[in-house]
Amino acid sequence: MEDTQSGVRAGARDMVPLLSGAIPFGMLVGVAAVGVGFTSVQATVMSILLFAGASQFAAFDLLARDAPAAVVVATVLVVNVRMTMYSASIAPYFRQFSPRWRWPFVYILTDYIYALAITEFDESHPDYNRRYYLGAAIPLWIAYVGGTAAGAVLGARIPSSWGLDFVIPLAFVALAVPTIENRASLLAAVAAGVVAVAGAGLPFNLGLVVAAVAGVAAGLVVDWGAA
């Protein structure tokens, strides 16, 4: 079964460079989780079940500010709403896989995997696609979950006086800046930032939700103006 091996190997080969980002990012998730009071087990299980770094940081930020559970969950889902675009874009390939593969493949569908799969997948070779996806997904899963566990153990030993909780806003800076690609997305970001500051005192951290809506609305207005 040389074909099997080549598909899995190609996936793993393409994923390896991305692991240099996934391992430390997983570790930061672990450090941040114990920083807001999670146990190492909670931090690791969260990474296994959610498998979505940016949204996990958002959850830590809100839990540290005593936000109600419903607001935390809603924010996680808003941060992850981009996954629906990946889902729509990759659906034609996933439908070629047997149902028993569909759910595990959906579970691991995240930025890195999507970026690799959508460039490599070939509609006429579903078997190769399936093996390539597995080859890329397994190292990513081990790196991210393993990174979280290591970070959680490490984080529990770091004194709070280091101010390491500042990595949470910095991680959002790192994730936000590359999403600003044109005038409309810049305006979406500026509007959201201004409204978020103005609404910082609102109860239940509702300022965040209002800011997100204002930002998307601002982006769409610029969009319509340009069209």
Binding site: S87, R95, V173, S185
Partner: protein, 113 residues
């Protein structure tokens, strides 16, 4: 790091609910709406503004609001460190250099203060 422990029940509730919801988002077009071939273009445009809006809304108050009031001054080391980090993120588009430089500036300013 926050000293207040978060209630374990709340943590598990948030983890499970967020995980189920996120899985549903990933599954949406693959499993749940199998008849819909693609995201309507208008919805896709709106969705593309969600990441810049939400991520910016998370970061700006965290660096601008200090003890309940707006602090846009050189004395706010978080704001300065975040501004430098944003510059690094813009040039490199990479997470780790952004975090590394941001934390270095933050620690440097606290050391000087």
């Amino acid at each position: 790091m926050a000293e207040t422990a978060v209630s374990p029940t709340l943590v598990w509730l948030v983890i499970v609910a967020a995980a189920v919801g996120t899985l549903a988002l990933r599954a949406s077009f693959v499993v749940l709406f199998r008849r819909v071939e693609t995201v309507p273009p208008r919805v896709e445009r709106a969705l593309s503004y969600v990441p810049p809006a939400v991520l910016t809304a998370l970061v700006v108050p965290a660096v601008v609001v200090v003890d309940g009031s707006i602090a846009v001054s050189p004395g706010n080391e978080r704001l300065l460190a975040a501004a430098v980090a944003a510059l690094v993120a813009w040039r490199t588009e990479r997470v780790l250099p952004t975090l590394g430089v941001g934390m270095a500036v933050f620690w440097g300013l606290r050391f000087l203060a």
